[in-house]
Symmetry: C2
DNA sequence: AAGAAAATATACAGACCTGTCTATTTTGTG
DNA sequence: CACAAAATAGACAGGTCTGTATATTTTCTT
């Protein structure tokens, strides 16, 4: 018995294919027929695992949210040195991401773009990811000794999202370096000064 | 004779309606039939003025690019005070924008999101806007006395785009304030120090 | 008022969209 | 082996999509 239904090979394979196509081409741009053809799966298999395309998109985003945060966490844990160095290593992670061959911007920013209505469940799923990321960043800022960790995390979030957009627009990894340098400056100020 | 075709009432009206719908709902989400119904115009009128939906989108983006830069320019010129204050007034402009009822994120970031292929003409039109904005920002940074105006403008761009994304995700104007505060700090450092 | 240009309504092509239904085959388990 | 669950192919419904064709009417200019 054990939980059942929560995971199955077909379902996982469907989610992996969906992620790849949605991230490459966009959510509205990829149709169900394209998706199942690429996954090599019958249409009813998809609709037995997901109630609708929107549910599939939300599932993909939630899975990506988990993986992303786990990956960043690994990077931080693998970084030796001070809490400040750990925090800044997030920007090294960014730089590697920007340089990867399939980098195509942030799936969550793109979801916000394609589903701008705040009441739309996909919009909300993307928003939840942003909140979770801010929370993780705040924790890192706190450990790095910032006097106002939430405020610093908030500002670093702006830098990160801005860098992602710039990297997507230009195809360069340089924005990660700019963001990292600025983050280092801001962190130094946030540790010494209360505001 | 005089130039002809470059502007006409129908064409302008079509572009205005297209802008409103595309910005509200997304580029792929709005169909031609919806568009012409909303504009109260025959389909052939649209296709006599624009070769395709993509051309219409590009036209809308280019018009928006002009208007946006003109609006920011007005804000800067209307701001009395030092060059630094003029530069920072861009963030006041942002805050007003975020607070406007029809704010829905950045049309260009959303275009990048929906048309991720760098070879796509819509993607390229959005990219051109980003370049133009950086140029204008660099000029302002230079006048404000930054030792490396391009570098500062680059960083401020990250803050601005990050703030736009955050404002879109949360529906709050607060990111403009965070970005402004950080910009003020960075500007002060960039004026006194060479790097 | 006459002729040219622009805009109109309408139908159409051909493709794609999400989601459902059914009947059959495969797969996994006791 | 036998039974049940899962996956399959394929058709189908009812829309929507972009773009074209055509024939008519309106608008502008001279």
């Amino acid at each position: 018995m054990a939980e059942a239904v929560i995971s199955s090979p077909k379902r996982d394979h469907l989610m992996a294919t969906a992620w790849r196509l949605f991230y490459r081409d966009g959510y509205r741009a990829v149709g169900i027929d394209t998706l199942i053809a690429e996954a090599g799966v019958a249409k009813m298999t998809l609709y037995n695992h997901f109630a609708s395309k929107d549910e599939l998109i939300i599932g993909v985003l939630e899975k990506r949210d988990c993986e992303l945060r786990a990956s960043i966490n690994d990077q931080v844990n693998a970084t030796d040195g001070s809490a400040a160095e750990k925090l800044l290593s997030v920007f090294d992670w960014l730089e590697r991401w920007f340089g990867s061959t399939d980098f195509n911007g942030c799936a969550f920013i793109r979801a916000l773009s394609e589903y701008p209505d705040p009441r739309h469940p996909i919009h909300q799923a993307a928003w939840r990811h942003k909140v979770a990321m801010q929370g993780a960043l705040t924790e890192l800022c706190s450990q790095a000794g910032a006097h106002n960790p939430a405020a610093l995390a908030n500002t670093l979030s702006l830098l990160i999202d801005g860098a992602i957009v710039a990297a997507q627009a230009t195809g360069s990894t340089a924005p990660a370096r700019s963001a990292r340098d600025t983050a280092a400056t801001l962190l130094a100020l946030a540790v010494q000064k209360p505001a």
